[in-house]
């Protein structure tokens, strides 16, 4: 029983980890309707900035703050120089352009920091495992991730769904021309929102770096997961993205934890040991396919909220 609870916790936590990255993407893709493949690159930049600044300042918190500022700035520059011209355009144009950015960032990082990756060690106060219920230890840092993810989720929801700025962003995504005709400087607004999205990507990168790695291309596989989450949740729905992230985290973790044993009960040993890993590899995609076949607009279609 303990085991199930602990694995559930693992799943929840993994889901929140994914949500951190998905959060920025919901903003930029779900709400501004801009397909930004380079979101993964911003995530990577966040991690590299953090690793560099932490090493430089010697303080995790200070380094993280600097890194946040740096990705925010980078996002704004990127938007200002190139991406703002792509808003009204076809999604595929955005795909191609931001794919180009991925190539660029990967090689730029390799040129600047070398191919080897960086270490982002945690301060000692975050490395201790915490006993949350008797017998169950949890890494302190992961608890912090949970807190940050929940805070980000709440903030996003409030800003986007409850404030006028959020309304303007959503309105601007569906009809830029009209929002301009209402006297709102949508360009500036979008630049800022894109910057915020970039900062969120950076936040995800720097939060995840101590658990995962700081590596070139670190954003690409996880980006696909983030897209999966947003799509399962229903594009444009923050609540959907949050629920889907948790859902995916739990299903994925539980699947890997219990599927092999389950299969071994039904199949012969040899068949099970080849089928189980293959199946658990596919699980997320299988899940997405099933959900989309049954609910072609995701679990929480945005229009109905």
């Amino acid at each position: 029983m303990y085991l199930v609870v602990e694995q559930l916790l693992n799943g929840l936590q993994f889901g929140l980890l994914l949500f951190l990255l998905a959060a920025g993407l919901t903003l930029v893709f779900g709400i501004m309707d801009f397909v930004n493949l380079a979101h993964g690159s911003l995530y990577m930049m966040g991690a590299y900035f953090a690793a560099t600044f932490v090493a430089w300042t010697g303080s995790f918190v200070l380094g993280a703050l600097l890194a946040l500022g740096a990705t925010l700035l980078l996002g704004i520059v990127l938007e200002y120089v190139a991406l703002r011209h792509l808003y009204g355009r076809d999604h595929l144009d955005q795909v191609l352009a931001t794919f180009g950015l991925i190539l660029f960032f990967n090689d730029a990082v390799r040129l600047i920091w070398g191919p080897a990756g960086l270490a982002l060690p945690l301060p000692a106060w975050l490395t201790v495992p915490v006993q949350i219920i008797p017998g169950v230890y949890y890494p302190a840092y992961r608890l912090m991730i949970i807190v940050v993810a929940l805070a980000v989720a709440a903030m996003l929801y409030l800003v986007v769904m409850r404030t006028r700025v959020g309304m303007l962003i959503r309105a601007g995504a569906s009809n830029r021309e009209m929002i301009g005709a209402l006297g709102i400087n949508i360009k500036l607004l979008f630049t800022l929102v894109f910057g915020l999205g970039a900062a969120l990507a950076g936040l995800a990168g720097l939060m995840q770096a101590p658990i995962l790695t700081v590596q070139i291309g670190m954003g690409e596989n996880i980006l696909i997961l983030a897209f999966v989450i947003i799509v399962i949740g229903g594009i444009g729905s923050i609540r959907g993205a949050f629920m889907a992230a948790v859902f995916v985290g739990i299903i994925d973790t539980m699947g890997r934890a219990f599927l092999p044993d389950l299969l071994r009960k039904v199949l012969s040993g040899a068949a099970a040991s080849t089928a189980a890993p293959a199946l658990s590899s596919m699980l997320i995609y299988l899940l997405m396919a099933i959900i989309l076949v049954l609910r072609p607009e995701g679990l929480f279609p945005a229009a109905k909220r």
Partner: protein, 247 residues
């Protein structure tokens, strides 16, 4: 609203002055030196058959399809070439052709998103006032824009433009798709607004109502203003209506 003040200011100079503008969509030119003027507190109608360039005129004024040449002055400022949000901020509220309400926002959010009182009208529009004007919207307040009926969308588009508390209200196809009752209400609402000093530029096919409440009219033919004058003049020249409007 700030009626007296608004009517007074710069009454010497027109509120909006469009002078010989030329506008193209890509390579095809649509406006050929079109001119018009609106004084503060005045209600002006644009008339013309389909495809003559009425909407394009409005898009040029708003900076949505910028005019290539000519001059546009609004509230004393040259606005040709400015981005549309700056023009709108100077005090133009637009009810566009095809309504263009935000489909992914609720009715209420559509109104809130637009709300603003940049010019400091003393008695600004509020959601409650819009609801009083269009009770139908009050019933639909938390529906998504996309689910509204055609007429409801039109009401919302008008409400949204009013929420910006504009100096000049522009309505492109003001009553398209509205039921007769509501249509009457819109006309009486417009004359009420005019009575309060609101300047209005309106396009509508309903010449009868336009001549009743508008002060002056322009007729547009193939991208040019071919006639301009008061309601009395228009009524006095039925052959004009026949020639340009086909009545």
């Amino acid at each position: 609203m700030a009626d007296t003040k608004m009517a007074d200011t710069k009454s010497a100079e027109p509120l909006l002055e469009v002078d010989a503008i030329e506008t193209c969509y890509g390579l095809s030119q649509v406006l050929f030196g079109l001119s018009l003027k609106i004084k503060a507190g005045e209600m002006v109608a644009l008339m013309g058959r389909n495809g003559m360039g009425k909407t394009t005129t409005i898009r040029s004024i708003m900076g949505l399809t910028p005019a290539r040449s000519g001059a546009i002055r609004f509230a004393g400022e040259a606005v040709r070439g400015l981005p549309s949000y700056k023009i709108a901020k100077l005090g133009i509220g637009l009810v566009p052709e095809g309504r263009q309400i935000f489909p992914n926002l609720t009715v209420r959010e559509n109104l809130v998103a637009a709300s603003g009182n940049r010019l400091g009208a003393s008695d600004p529009w509020t959601i409650d006032k819009i609801h009083a004007l269009f009770p139908r919207l009050a019933e639909r307040t938390s529906n998504m824009g996309v689910t509204l009926s055609g007429g409801e969308q039109q009401m919302l588009a008008i409400g949204r433009a009013l929420m910006t508390n504009p100096k000049l209200l522009i309505l492109d196809e003001a009553t398209e798709g509205l039921a007769p009752l509501i249509r009457d209400e819109i006309w009486s609402c417009l004359s009420m607004l005019k009575g309060r000093g609101q300047s209005v530029l309106v396009i509508d096919k309903n010449v009868g109502n336009l001549t009743r409440i508008a002060d002056r009219h322009y007729i547009i033919e193939r991208g040019r203003t071919v006639w301009g004058g008061t309601s009395e003049q228009l009524i006095a020249e039925p052959e004009l209506q026949h020639k340009y409007l086909g009545i």
